[in-house]
């Protein structure tokens, strides 16, 4: 948080200022952390009605050209040709050791056209990495400048319809381009049904205001975004995923198509095959601390004897769960739900149990 001068500013910053946002630095951006309602109410409101998130710090990349599918299938453990038009897929960028450079959503938009949504903190690194790969393929690779708004919660679909954007044909993990320069998916990061809508910067304020005119819509900041995603069991790259973790120990192997696990030609394929053959030594799990005291990222996980057996990578309080929630990595033998582990916070030993993820049921609208 050192140099606030160099932070990037959201195009809709003035709207957040007007809403009374409290700002903080995140991934090089000056981001709304909370609004006057506070993290608890923002979190609960998202689960009960609809929360509006400005996630314009995330980066869209458009890939187009004869080799678009081949390029993506090289860059990611993904069979891009297998995606239907309009279908989205959660995937990752791996290094040669199968370490996770970033996690992404890829959506097929046409015969030879795809959209990538990447994390803010990794966007610059991803772009360098992807452009280097792109040199071997006949594609154009474009970083798009967009405002990206997420409307999440059970009322999201109806609110968008009322605002003139009918996305009711979309099911979870599909996307479309409702207008020139717009890109919308039925997806999100909260565990709720909801949408992410990217649109040209010069149209964004009008659209955001239209949504905010609906009394069901409330701004929700990054603090609640974090508690929502943690309850939903979703990984945050930079905390739960990084280049020292791989799809096997991160427990996101489900995102790698079976056929590619043994004979993929993506970057990191050989390393991942070996990891899978040898068996991951540790695994990402949910953790439920006993009592009310939150256990934070960085806390060590220890066994009864006090030996280190893992680490907490995300932790906080789950406003919907009503108790602290966390996730972390533990030795494979200790990764079964119900396994009792411990941590120490300020000298106090706190018990945690390995817990299934998510902590709160995901409520996506599946097809």
């Amino acid at each position: 948080m050192s140099n606030t001068e160099s932070l990037k500013h959201l195009p809709l910053e003035a709207l957040h200022e007007d809403a009374g946002a409290r700002f903080g630095a995140f991934a090089g951006w000056r981001m709304p952390l909370t609004y006057p309602a506070g993290v608890m109410k923002e979190h609960i409101h998202t689960r009960e009605s609809a929360g509006l998130f400005d996630i314009s710090h995330m980066q869209l990349f458009e890939v187009e050209g004869a080799d678009a599918a081949a390029f993506l299938s090289r860059a990611c453990p993904l069979d891009a040709t297998a995606l239907r038009e309009g279908q989205s897929k959660y995937t990752v960028l791996l290094n040669e050791n199968a370490g996770i450079i970033d996690d992404l959503i890829v959506t097929r938009l046409g015969e030879n056209r795809y959209m990538i949504v990447a994390n803010a903190g990794n966007a610059a690194k991803d772009e360098v990495h992807l452009r280097a790969i792109a040199a071997d393929f006949d594609i154009s690779f474009t970083a798009l400048e967009r405002v990206l708004l997420a409307l999440q919660g059970p009322d999201a679909e109806a609110i968008l319809i009322a605002a003139g954007l009918d996305l009711s044909d979309l099911v979870f993990m599909t996307g479309t381009e409702p207008h020139e320069g717009w890109f919308a998916t039925r997806s999100g990061y909260t565990g709720e049904d909801g949408f992410e809508v990217a649109l040209p910067v010069d149209q964004a304020e009008r659209f955001a205001r239209k949504l905010l005119d609906d009394e069901r819509v409330q701004w929700v900041g990054l603090a609640a975004r974090d508690s929502l995603r943690l309850e939903a069991g979703l990984c945050l790259h930079g905390q739960d995923l990084d280049e020292t973790t791989d799809p096997a120990n991160a427990a996101i192997l489900w995102a790698v198509p079976k056929a590619l696990r043994s004979e993929g030609r993506f970057i990191g394929a050989e390393a991942l095959q070996k990891i899978i053959a040898d068996g991951a030594k540790e695994k990402r799990v949910g953790l439920k601390p006993e009592g009310r005291q939150p256990v934070r990222a960085g806390a060590p996980l220890i066994n009864e004897a006090g030996e280190k057996v893992g680490r907490v990578t995300s932790g906080g309080f789950g406003p919907s769960a009503g108790h602290p929630v966390a996730m972390g990595y533990v030795a494979k033998a200790l990764s079964e739900p119900g396994t009792r582990l411990f941590t120490e916070v300020r000298g106090n030993r706190i018990a945690l149990d390995v817990h299934t993820l998510p902590f709160t049921p995901q409520r996506y609208k599946k097809g």
């Binding site: 952390l33 909370t34 506070g38 993290v39 608890m40 979190h43 603090a223 609640a224 974090d226 508690s227 009310r292 005291q293 939150p294 934070r296 906080g316 309080f317 406003p319 602290p324 300020r346 106090n348």
Partner: protein, 122 residues
């Protein structure tokens, strides 16, 4: 007669008959956001000025609350164990944190009064 002091760390200290009741200010609770856990000291513990007396945890982060002077903890606000949000809703009332018997009340001299504190956060 009681007197209330304020610190630069956004604590208030109300002193009555050598016993200080300590809490955080409305400004502080607003900055911290919704509290979900308050770690209270043991009654009878002796603290020196500047020691961490209480840790308040919001959804996102933990923050220390310091002893404003030397003394012995005489009472803690047990209600916070089940309802830490009292600190948000009534920071200077039901959301008080602890009481301590002061060893040397003169250590509080030089702290701000309410007017000076309000000016400092304006």
């Amino acid at each position: 007669m009681s007197q209330t002091y304020f610190t630069e760390d956004h604590e208030w200290i109300k002193v009555e008959n050598g016993v200080a009741t300590v809490g955080i200010t409305d400004h502080a609770q607003e900055q911290l956001g919704d509290l979900v856990f308050v770690e209270l000291p043991e009654t009878g513990a002796t603290l020196s000025k500047g020691d961490t007396a209480v840790v308040v945890e919001s959804v996102k982060a933990a923050s220390d609350v310091y002893a404003p002077a030397d003394g012995e903890i005489s009472e803690v606000n047990e209600a916070l164990a089940s309802d830490p949000a009292l600190v948000n809703s009534a920071p200077t009332g039901d959301g008080w944190l602890w009481k301590m018997k002061l060893s040397d009340e003169s250590q509080l001299e030089g702290l701000m009064d309410e007017a000076a504190y309000k000016a400092s956060i304006a």
